[in-house]
């Protein structure tokens, strides 16, 4: 069993007797230090997609499937190609890797998950370093550095960063929660 907060893109869980692969996992802080997870699932038996929103401490039955270390190679039409050390290529659709697209860049190490021999999803590294390509100057009234502001990554995805982070700086991000970790020199 895993709690919702531990689940990541690429994990497979059983809900209502159906195996569901998590295509996207979004973590958000709710009130009073609670948090919620929003998942986008694909049913491995029927191929249908669904969504679910859960408290982070909700327990799920997870299935351990075969995985392989790969790195992202290139985009080919609607497919994304990943390669292992033996140069075997694995193609996944945009939908399969939706939760990873915001961090995807060439040679990024990932883990491909297989179901009945077929690649079904990709899990990104726990931490990635990305450049901030745009963020607004600090807000007036905040002299403490505690206020967060949005910062855009090369993929277009926005992550909340402290007010002192500037354009061009590199930041480390926790891909499990999509949260800023630190500035990288």
């Amino acid at each position: 069993m895993k709690v919702a907060q531990e689940l990541r893109t690429g994990n497979v869980v059983v809900v209502d007797k159906a195996p569901l692969v998590i295509q996207k996992a979004d973590y958000n802080k709710s009130g009073r230090n609670a948090a919620v997870m929003k998942f986008k699932f694909r049913n491995l038996l029927t191929g249908t997609n669904s969504e679910g929103v859960y408290k982070t401490d909700e327990k799920f039955e997870d299935i351990v499937l075969d995985t392989k270390e790969v790195s992202y190679s290139y985009e080919s039409g609607d497919m994304y190609v990943f390669m292992d050390e033996e140069y075997n290529q694995y193609e996944l659709s945009k939908e399969d890797i939706e939760g990873v697209l915001k961090y995807l860049e060439e040679q990024m190490p990932c883990e491909v998950t297989f179901y009945e021999g077929k690649p079904i999803s990709v899990t990104p590294p726990v931490k990635v370093v990305r450049e901030v390509i745009y963020t607004e100057p600090a807000v007036r009234g905040d002299t403490s550095g505690k206020i967060m502001k949005p910062a855009r990554l090369p993929s277009g995805y926005e992550v909340q960063v402290p007010a002192f982070v500037e354009i061009g700086e590199k930041i480390e991000i926790d891909t499990r929660t999509d949260e800023y970790v630190s500035r990288v020199k």
């Binding site: 869980v13 059983v14 809900v15 209502d16 979004d26 958000n28 802080k29 709710s30 009130g31 009073r32 230090n33 609670a34 919620v36 929003k38 969504e51 679910g52 929103v53 859960y54 408290k55 909700e58 327990k59 799920f60 039955e61 807000v139 007036r140 009234g141 905040d142 002299t143 403490s144 505690k146 206020i147 967060m148 502001k149 909340q160």
Partner: protein, 367 residues
């Protein structure tokens, strides 16, 4: 589809009065305005009695104890603020021929992510029941705000009649309306820079009267131009009158914050502090919405007041003077904000519409 006749609402009081305040308000609206049978399960009834000394009988109050006996589930089960339903309740829900509609009423936030998570029926992983998280909010796509049907009519009637306001003030040992004084209601967490705030008000160019509900230590304190009236806690309904009669309101948490918005008076919000300063992200999201109601020349001063009030340890002189100087213009913005949030359906209306539109819950009289 379930016919909606009964509602069970579960609430654990973690701290303060926000949880119980919201849950009582919701329970009462469902019972009185929607004519439903409502049971409110509370683990701490004493907290309710502090803000609702004499709860009317429209809602059945049940003390939520560990060995709670729960024979039959209602048509709609609301778990407030992810309070975790006890096993016997889950079992009773599973035993129904048609499982009840199970709602988790979440915390209020203006953040965009809440809109994307709002009202998505989700299969609960360990029970197989369907559970839906509802997120209250300030915009049309959100779960809305709790608002009684007659709230605005009552507010307008009270605010337009100084005689009635004075009568209410006398009943609560507050001074009568005086056009030479600025009256502020005051309700905040201890993390706010309260002493620095009072110091600055004491040096303001006009008399300022702060009405400060407390649980003990009542009395009147004078500091220069400032007079602080420490008065007993108000009931939930009287607290609205306090917000309506003041020139500005300092509020905290969730329930008083929402009510201050409806009061159409300028407000400063003290948000509940969270780990890793998550509360500041939430405050910024709210300010991004709130600013549309205010003129640019007064907005910066108001936003700065919000930050100062919520950044622990921050002291900056002059911010409160600007706030008081701007009160008349800020009042116009506060009225626009109240109109904006009143232009949308209230939370209960949205909840019932959602049930109907998803074909899972319909009131018998709406067939």
């Amino acid at each position: 589809m379930n016919f909606l006749r009964s509602v069970d609402l579960f609430c654990r009081v973690i701290d303060n009065f926000g949880d119980v305040g919201v849950c009582w308000r919701l329970a009462r609206q469902l019972a009185v305005e929607e004519d439903l049978q409502v049971r409110l399960y509370l683990d701490d009834l004493e907290s309710l009695y502090k803000i609702v000394p004499e709860p009317d009988k429209s809602v059945q109050l049940v003390k939520w104890v560990d060995d709670l006996v729960y024979a039959e589930s209602a048509d709609l089960v609301i778990e407030a603020f992810a309070c975790d339903l006890p096993d016997q309740v889950i079992e009773a829900m599973k035993e129904r021929d048609r499982p009840p509609v199970w709602i988790d009423l979440e915390y209020l936030t203006a953040e965009d992510w809440a809109l994307s998570c709002h009202a998505i029926p989700s299969v609960h992983p360990s029970t197989g029941l369907q559970k839906t998280l509802l997120f209250p909010g300030f915009v049309e796509e959100s779960g809305g705000l709790l608002r009684e049907n007659d709230l605005i009519e009552r507010r307008d009637s009270f605010q337009s009649d100084v005689f009635v306001q004075n009568q209410w003030r006398r009943t609560h040992n507050l001074p009568e309306f005086d056009e030479n004084c600025i009256d502020l209601s005051f309700f905040s967490y201890k993390t706010a820079p309260i002493e620095a705030f009072f110091d600055e008000l004491s040096e303001y160019s006009r008399a300022v009267r702060v009405f400060y509900p407390v649980l003990e230590g009542f009395g009147v304190e004078k500091r220069g131009y400032l007079t602080i009236y420490r008065v007993p806690f108000f009931s939930q309904s009287d607290y609205d009158y306090l917000l309506w009669t003041c020139d500005g309101n300092f509020v905290r948490g969730e329930d008083s914050f929402v009510r201050a918005g409806f009061a159409a008076k300028p407000m400063i919000w003290n948000i509940y502090v969270q780990e890793n300063d998550a509360h500041l992200v939430k405050m910024r999201a709210f300010l991004d919405l709130y600013r549309a109601a205010f003129l640019p020349n007064v907005w910066e001063g108001l936003a700065e007041s919000f930050y100062l009030w919520n950044l622990e340890g921050e002291i900056k002189k002059g911010v409160w003077k600007i706030l008081l100087d701007n009160l008349p213009v800020l009042t116009q913005g506060a009225r626009l904000w109240a109109e904006e949030i009143c232009s949308q359906d209230a939370l209960v209306t949205k909840l019932l519409e959602w049930g109907k539109n998803n074909n899972i819950l319909i009131k018998k009289d709406k067939l």
